[in-house]
């Protein structure tokens, strides 16, 4: 889960990382305590808020109140701004980049550092980024030396950067981060090294170790949030076909097949492996609320038996009341029983994936 900037900074502060002094405000009335001149920053989880006008500056309380009001009324890339962070404006001498990130290829934590901060790291030339795989025994002194050299810092600021990186790494591990990014990492005119902007993503699978994040809100739609609570993999998309399949790969492949046949999925819903018809019923209830034009049910029965799914669908139709047409493709373990159950509630099912996909696409455009 992504954290808002102010939450990320609270966490960093807890680990001793220097951050700008700031005040969080949910309304223009809340801004007391801010230090002037101040930066008013929209608290959103989408990227690119700066370009979208989500960061403004103010020298007085009146100005700050006005800017806060403006930003609090914005919606950035579909995300409503619910709070602003008012932070002291730093006297910036240099902007650097520092992050720790889970690295799939090397199966280790990667430290990334660049003297080119303040721009998106994707836009920094590869040879200008130092990448260091953190040894499994943790942060080691040599990493600080690499930082000092990458950033081109003197002894004092090199030490600050080293201490900051060590703390950031400690936080990354202790809080089960997937990403902990400081961009820009600022060197001020007075020689302080400060985390001016902060991005943190917490590993969802670790949340059992971090109940304190349960109150944080991820960048999920309300339906996605509901699905998460019910342990269903559910993603809202742009199209109008609601796809239910079992297994992430099969669900993705179903999306692709629909696309190849001229359709477009509006919901990705992976049932996973389940032997509980109630989970299927819940999935259909979610799907109903997502309002696709048609539901495409694609089941290859194995661990999840076809008749279990059919029973869940039947229950949903009978108790939840599914008012959206369902196209079904059923194969695998107990597919004959499943087809009978579905037939009983008026759903014809196919065994052929392409044929069924085409039928769903036709139903969606009609």
């Amino acid at each position: 889960m992504k954290l808002f900037e102010y939450r990320a900074k609270q966490l960093m502060e807890k680990y001793g990382i220097p951050i700008p002094r700031g005040v969080l405000a949910k309304s223009p009335a809340d801004i007391s305590g801010a230090e002037y001149p101040v930066a008013v920053k929209a608290q959103v989880l989408v990227g690119g808020r700066g370009k979208a006008g989500g960061i403004k500056f103010a020298s007085t309380t009146d100005e700050a109140r006005a800017r806060s009001k403006e930003i609090l009324s914005m919606t950035i890339k579909g995300e409503k701004v619910k709070s602003v962070l008012l932070e002291e404006r730093l006297d910036v001498k240099r902007e650097l980049y520092l992050s720790f990130v889970m690295d799939r290829s090397s199966r280790s934590i990667l430290m990334m550092a660049s003297a080119d901060g303040g721009v998106e790291i994707e836009n920094v030339p590869h040879e200008r980024i130092s990448m260091v795989q953190v040894p499994p025994f943790g942060y080691s002194q040599f990493m600080g030396r690499i930082l000092k050299s990458t950033f081109g810092l003197g002894d004092d600021q090199g030490k600050q950067a080293d201490a900051l990186a060590r703390s950031l790494y400690s936080m990354f591990v202790a809080e089960d981060c997937e990403l902990a990014e400081i961009n820009p990492l600022v060197v001020t005119s007075s020689g302080k090294v400060i985390a001016a902007d902060s991005k943190i993503t917490i590993n969802d699978d670790s949340l059992f170790r971090h109940p304190e994040f349960s109150e944080d809100i991820d960048d999920l739609t309300p339906l996605e949030q509901r699905a998460k609570e019910e342990d269903i993999a559910f993603v809202q998309l742009d199209g109008n076909i609601g796809v239910i399949a079992n297994g992430a790969g099969l669900t993705m492949a179903t999306l692709d097949i629909l696309t190849l046949n001229g359709g477009k999925a509006g919901v990705f819903l992976d049932l996973g492996g389940t032997d509980d018809p109630r989970k299927v019923t819940k999935a259909l209830a979610l799907m109903k609320d997502a309002r696709p034009a048609v539901i495409f049910l694609n089941i290859f029965g194995g661990i999840t038996k076809c008749d279990t799914v059919a029973s869940g669908v039947k229950d949903a139709v009978e108790t939840v009341g599914i008012d959206i047409p369902i196209v079904a493709r059923i194969r695998g373990v107990n597919d004959d029983i499943a087809r009978e159950i579905l037939k009983g509630i008026g759903i014809e099912s196919s065994t052929d994936l392409i044929e069924a996909a085409r039928k769903a696409v036709r139903a969606a455009v009609s």
């Binding site: 799939r104 591990v173 699978d205 790969g249 993705m252 999306l255 692709d256 290859f300 999840t304």
Partner: protein, 287 residues
């Protein structure tokens, strides 16, 4: 022959007294796998369907000669379970458990590598060699003996494809479900290297998906080191960036991990990439 699971494979099931463990221990045995024991702390001395249960993997390994384990324990205990298995010297560790924190996975993958154990998964369906047995949760019925090696990040999609292969008379040496998590014990490259070495495997099918760069790395490896024909399908062409598509690892982030990039890399390495999963049998037949 086969890779990872063969005639010498002797399996224990960690978490055998749980619902899943019990069910799949039986299913593995029915498939012909030598399931020699199970482990559930505190339940040592009993049995599950005639399979002896031990308190620790150490005891199970010492008393049964097991060399392989299949792990069903809950995510929060998984790291310790893998540590225990690797510590007891088991050479193949199949981790079915999903939702394991990636830092835990990193640690047990490192430990396994240090001790020379092979980890499959986590969040995977396991390994099946139709001629010898299965370790994991793949449905038993869809396999046929043959000369195709299958490597896949996805469970059900693999079943779909393997089923189609078998129906088309194309059997398998071994099917390896490497798992859908970002941090996994055995990746495409490592599984490809095993199939390349295996004399019984003549052709390789790989099933990839969006997220990460494992398929791109596989393409580089294929170009350099794989002499056998490789066929691929990549799921997720129509997935949007920034969204996890069911698997923890299936996410296009920061412009990396798109299906296009993977397909391009694989085709560049001479791999035949199918547009649809159902096209795989025809591609393999065409050769």
């Amino acid at each position: 022959m086969a890779i990872m699971v063969d005639g010498s494979t002797k399996v224990i099931v960690q978490g055998i007294t749980g619902h899943q463990g019990q069910f799949h221990a039986k299913s593995m045995r029915e498939f012909g796998t030598k399931v020699v024991g199970g482990v559930t702390p505190g339940k040592g001395g009993g049995d599950v369907d005639g399979i002896p249960v031990f308190d620790t993997v150490k005891e199970a390994a010492e008393q049964t000669g097991a060399n392989t384990t299949c792990i069903f324990v809950p995510a929060r205990f998984a790291r310790d379970a893998v540590f225990e298995a690797v510590n007891a010297g088991l050479g193949l560790v199949v981790v079915i458990t999903e939702h394991i924190p990636f830092l835990d996975a990193m640690q047990f993958v490192s430990y396994a590598k240090l001790k020379g154990s092979t980890v499959i998964g986590p969040n995977c369906p396991g390994v099946t060699s139709p001629s010898f047995g299965k370790v994991g949760i793949m449905p038993s019925k869809m396999f046929a003996k043959g000369d195709v090696g299958v490597i896949s990040r996805s469970g059900t999609l693999t079943y779909e494809i393997v089923n189609a292969l078998s129906e088309n008379g194309i059997g398998q040496t071994t099917c390896v479900g490497i798992g859908g998590d970002p941090i996994i014990g055995t990746n495409f490259v490592e599984a490809l290297a095993r199939f390349e070495e295996d004399s019984g495997t003549k052709r390789i099918v790989m099933v990839g998906e969006i997220g990460g760069t494992a398929e791109e790395e596989a393409a580089d490896f294929i170009r350099e080191h794989v002499t056998k024909p490789v066929y691929a399908y990549i799921a997720g062409r129509s997935a949007p960036p920034g969204k996890r598509m069911g698997h923890a690892g299936a996410i296009i982030s920061r412009g990396r991990g798109t299906a296009e990039s993977k397909i391009k890399a694989l085709e560049g390495a001479g791999v035949s990439v199918a547009a649809l999963p159902t096209d795989i049998p025809a591609l393999v037949k065409k050769g």
